[in-house]
């Protein structure tokens, strides 16, 4: 008997078919059917065990626990609904949304604010905030962009015929210089250098078109433009200089720190600001003005050769003063002709011409075509020392006084003077 037949027989017996019927139906399996059904008959006669009285208590506990679960299940949806309907939650969300919306509107409106507007401080604050959160490697680019923004603001103020605050101009010029210093150690191919150079040029152009009545009393176009120009030139110089030279350039005092040169428009016509007319050259005997530009003299001749031709006049002036004074001193020997003390006398005329070669160098410098930028040429330093050595104003007076007491023979003088000093024949012919 297989499992399926046994299951069939069991089902039949459980459905009321008697054991004898099943044995007759399956006579070949009669013994197996009896062995299968007899235990089932025995199991049917076993009285089922019943629960003890304490089972009712267990049922009560079960129902009480079910009620607790039901209460918990009923409480959960109420909590969710009450959370969604909380007024404070909606109010807080609305306030946060309005704050974000208004803040965004204010920031967008302040983007077009100009100096003097109410939202301009908000604009500057947002710029500072964004700059503070900018990575350090990108801050210079952002600062250059802010310089461009200042330039646009100044241009807008000029277009609207509004006064340009002095602080804004000073700030943007100082910021340009600061960025230039920060870019000095960078590679010459750094694109930020070109950006700063372009910003610098645009700024110069913008400042040049500011009407003078819209500028403060203590601010001049050419001062700012010159400062920016010097900054731009330093950028160019540092791009072509060796690292050591570049460091030297950065360590040396900037030209902006020399008010005599920078504030003096007599340097020459300014390309950046053609509206500023050059003042007429007045030769002065102050050599210190010429000494200062020697710091950047080596690089500049190649940059702007025709820019500053005016200072040429100064060396010429100092050079011409010396020869004009010398002839006045030569008549002195005519008063005291002593032959024995000729050597010291001859020393005097020779000393003057030998010192004069410094003056002969000056005309070479003074040629506009040869060394046009005398202000920044180191060779200009020489003339500054020449006047001190020559001291033209003092030369005539000591020479006569020193030569007078010494008796000089008149005879040797005429013979030597025509040889040494051509063009001074008057003393010779007089004797």
């Amino acid at each position: 008997m297989n499992d399926n037949l046994s299951e069939l027989v069991i089902d039949a017996w459980q459905n009321g078919v008697s054991l004898e019927t099943l044995c007759k139906q399956y006579p070949h399996h009669a013994d197996a059917i009896r062995q299968l059904i007899n235990p089932l008959i025995t199991l049917q006669q076993v009285n089922a065990p019943t629960l003890s009285p304490r089972a009712s208590q267990a049922q009560a506990d079960f129902l009480r626990l079910a009620q607790h679960y039901r209460a918990q299940a009923a409480a959960k949806p109420k909590q969710r609904r009450s959370l969604l309907t909380q007024r404070w939650l909606w109010a807080t969300a609305t306030i946060v949304f309005l704050l974000c919306l208004s803040g965004n509107l204010v920031l967008s409106a302040s983007a077009r604010a100009l100096p003097g507007d109410n939202l301009y401080s908000v604009k500057r604050w947002s710029e500072s905030l964004s700059l503070a959160f900018t990575p350090s490697d990108q801050q210079l680019a952002v600062r250059i962009e802010l310089v461009n923004e200042r330039q646009r603001e100044i241009a807008s103020l000029v277009a609207l015929n509004k006064p340009v605050p002095n602080g804004l101009l000073d700030e943007v010029v100082n910021e340009t210089q600061s960025i230039e210093l920060a870019l000095a150690p960078t590679h010459t191919n750094d694109p930020r250098r070109d950006q700063l150079r372009q910003a610098n040029q645009q700024l110069q152009t913008t400042i040049a078109i500011i009407p003078s009545e819209n500028l403060g009393d203590d601010v001049k176009h050419h001062d700012l433009i010159e400062t920016l120009d010097q900054s731009s030139q330093r950028m160019v110089a540092s791009a072509s200089a060796t690292p050591t030279q570049m460091v030297k350039l950065m360590l040396e005092p900037t030209i902006a720190d020399q008010p005599i040169i920078l504030s003096d428009p007599t340097v020459g016509p300014n390309i950046a600001n053609p509206r500023v007319p050059p003042k007429p050259q007045t030769p002065t005997l102050e050599p210190t003005e010429v000494v200062l530009p020697t710091s950047t003299s080596t690089a500049l001749p190649t940059v702007k050769p025709t820019k500053v031709p005016a200072p040429v006049v100064k060396p010429i002036a100092t050079a011409t003063l010396v020869p004009t004074l010398l002839p006045t001193s030569t008549p002195l020997p005519t008063d005291v002709p002593t032959a024995t003390e000729l050597p010291p006398v001859t020393a005097l005329p020779t000393s003057a011409p030998t010192n004069l070669p410094t003056a002969t160098e000056n005309p070479i410098i003074g040629l506009p075509t040869a060394t046009p930028v005398v202000v920044r040429n180191p060779t200009v330093v020489v003339p500054t020392k020449v006047p001190e050595d020559i001291k033209p104003t003092e030369m005539p007076t000591p020479q006569p006084t020193a030569a007078v007491p010494t008796p000089q023979p008149p005879a040797p003088v005429p013979t030597k003077i025509p040889e040494d000093s051509k063009g001074q024949p008057q003393p010779i012919s007089h004797n």
């Binding site: 009285n47 267990a58 079960f62």
Partner: protein, 185 residues
């Protein structure tokens, strides 16, 4: 009320039970508590322990109602499956109980003296015979012929196939026939 609940399908009963309907839960408890007690009792042979495990089965039912999904399982099969796991766990920890405990605890206090004597004898013999079977065979005998569960239910409860249950049932009955005394002897 009980009549109305009995007319509900298994799925409807489960849905109401998941809502912790008091009437449905009471019906389930009263309908399945005695059968679960007998199943547990024949498996472990100790009345008090069987009653404790039976109560624990219903608590487990309450805890699991929230995650119970109707997938063709009747709630009775689910309850027996809980009881099966609890019994297996109990037997694994305690080991098989001895026959002495059954003789002391199998007597139904509600029965009369004669009935108690007969029932004790039958229960003792039955339990002794079941102890001679394997656990799987004993469980199939209990579920199939003492609890009147179908082959499919037994397969679900024990986690076996219906074919395996039929084979187990055949071998268990043959073994039990050799162990139990013939009727009328």
């Amino acid at each position: 009320m009980l009549v109305l609940i009995e007319s509900l399908s298994d799925q409807e009963i489960i849905e109401r039970a998941k809502a912790y309907d008091h009437a449905v839960l009471q019906h389930l408890y009263e309908a399945y508590s005695p059968a679960l007690f007998r199943y547990i009792y024949y498996r472990i042979g100790d009345r008090e322990t069987a009653e404790d495990i039976r109560a624990d089965v219903f608590i487990k039912m309450l805890e699991g109602l929230g995650s119970f999904n109707y997938q063709g399982w009747s709630i009775a099969s689910w309850l027996y499956r809980i009881a099966h796991d609890r019994v297996v766990d109990h037997l694994r920890r305690q080991g098989r109980r001895k026959q002495e405990t059954l003789v002391d605890t199998v007597v139904d206090p509600t029965d009369g003296p004669d009935q108690q004597s007969l029932a004790s004898l039958d229960h003792a013999e039955l339990y002794a015979a079941l102890q001679q079977l394997t656990d799987e065979q004993a469980e199939v005998i209990i579920l199939r012929f003492l609890q009147d569960r179908s082959i499919r239910d037994v397969a679900q409860i024990t986690g076996r196939s219906e074919g395996a249950i039929k084979a187990l049932q055949h071998r268990a009955l043959n073994a039990l026939g050799r162990l139990l005394r013939p009727v009328g002897d």
